[in-house]
C-alpha cells in the first residue's frame, strides 16, 4: 500500500507499507510516472514497513529507475529493506540496479 508520496526540494519520497501486489503496483506506476513527467529524477523509497513486494512492484521500481537515470538524475534509492523483501531484492539481483541505503 502507498502511504504517501511527497516532494522534498526535488527529492520524491515514497512511503510504502504492507504487501505490494500487482493491484497496488499499477497504482504506484501511475503515480510515479507522473512524478517523472513533472521532471523529478531523484526518488527515495522507504521500505521499512513493507513486508512483501512481488515482481510487478519490482517492475515498477525498475521502470522508474530507468527513466530517472535516462533524465540524468540520481535515480531511485531504496531504504529499509528487511526480511522477505531484502531476500526478494537479492534473488532478483536488484541490489545492483538501485542505490540501497
Amino acid at each position: 500500500m502507498i502511504l504517501g508520496i511527497r516532494n522534498e526540494q526535488g527529492l520524491v519520497v515514497v512511503e510504502l507499507e504492507g504487501k505490494i501486489y500487482v493491484d497496488d503496483a499499477s497504482d504506484l506506476r501511475e503515480k510515479l510516472l507522473e512524478q517523472i513527467k513533472l521532471g523529478h529524477k531523484e526518488f527515495l523509497v522507504l521500505m521499512e514497513r513493507v513486508i512483501y513486494i512481488d515482481s510487478s512492484g519490482l517492475g515498477v521500481l525498475v521502470a522508474i529507475q530507468k527513466r530517472a537515470l535516462e533524465q540524468g538524475g540520481r535515480g531511485v534509492m531504496i531504504r529499509g529493506l528487511n526480511g522477505a523483501v531484502r531476500e526478494i531484492f537479492e534473488l532478483t539481483r536488484l541490489n545492483r540496479v538501485f542505490e540501497i541505503l
Partner: protein, 152 residues
C-alpha cells in the same frame, strides 16, 4: 496417511485478493516440515504464478464469457513426498521455454544478464524457480506446475 488436496476455481477479476490469504494459509498448514525460508520462497512462487494468471485475465477483461476470466489452483501432496501446486489460467499460453531456460541459467551461474536485470517484467519466473525444486509448463503454456520435495 491423510490426503492433502485443495482445488479452487475463482473469477480472476476481483477474486484474487479474496482467495490469496486462504491459499497462503493452506500452503503454510501443509508445509509442516519445511523451514521458514522454504515456506517463504514457496509463498513467493505461488504468488508469482497467480500474478501471471492475473495478467491473462486482465487481458480478457472485456470478454463477456466468465470461463475466460477464471483461474484454477490445485494443491496436493504426492505420496507424502512432494507438494504439487498447479495454476491454470484461461489464456492461450505463452513462449515459456526461454524464460525457464534463463531462470535455470541464473541458478546455474548465479548471474543475471544485464538485459534481464533491467527488464520491466519477467522476474516472476525467476522468483518461481527460486522457491521450487521443479518448474514446468504444459505444452500450451497456460498451466504451470510447481513441485517442492517434502522432508520427513
Amino acid at each position: 496417511m491423510t490426503e492433502e488436496f485443495l482445488q479452487i476455481v475463482f473469477e480472476g477479476k476481483g477474486g484474487l485478493p479474496k482467495v490469496r490469504d486462504c491459499l497462503s494459509d493452506y500452503l503454510r498448514e501443509v508445509l509442516t516440515t519445511a523451514s521458514p525460508e522454504e515456506v517463504l520462497l514457496l509463498e513467493i512462487a505461488l504468488n508469482e504464478a497467480l500474478n501471471n494468471a492475473m495478467k491473462v485475465v486482465t487481458a480478457h477483461e472485456d470478454s463477456s464469457a466468465p470461463p475466460s476470466r477464471r483461474i484454477s489452483v490445485t494443491m496436493y501432496v504426492k505420496q507424502g513426498k512432494a507438494l504439487i501446486i498447479r495454476v491454470k489460467d484461461p489464456g492461450e499460453g505463452f513462449p515459456f521455454h526461454d524464460y525457464i531456460s534463463q531462470a535455470d541459467e541464473v541458478f546455474r551461474t548465479g548471474e543475471l544478464p544485464e538485459s534481464g536485470l533491467w527488464a520491466e517484467s519477467g522476474r516472476g519466473i525467476l522468483l518461481m524457480r527460486a522457491g521450487v525444486d521443479k518448474l514446468t509448463y504444459n505444452k500450451k503454456g497456460n498451466v504451470v506446475t510447481l513441485q517442492k520435495r517434502l522432508h520427513h
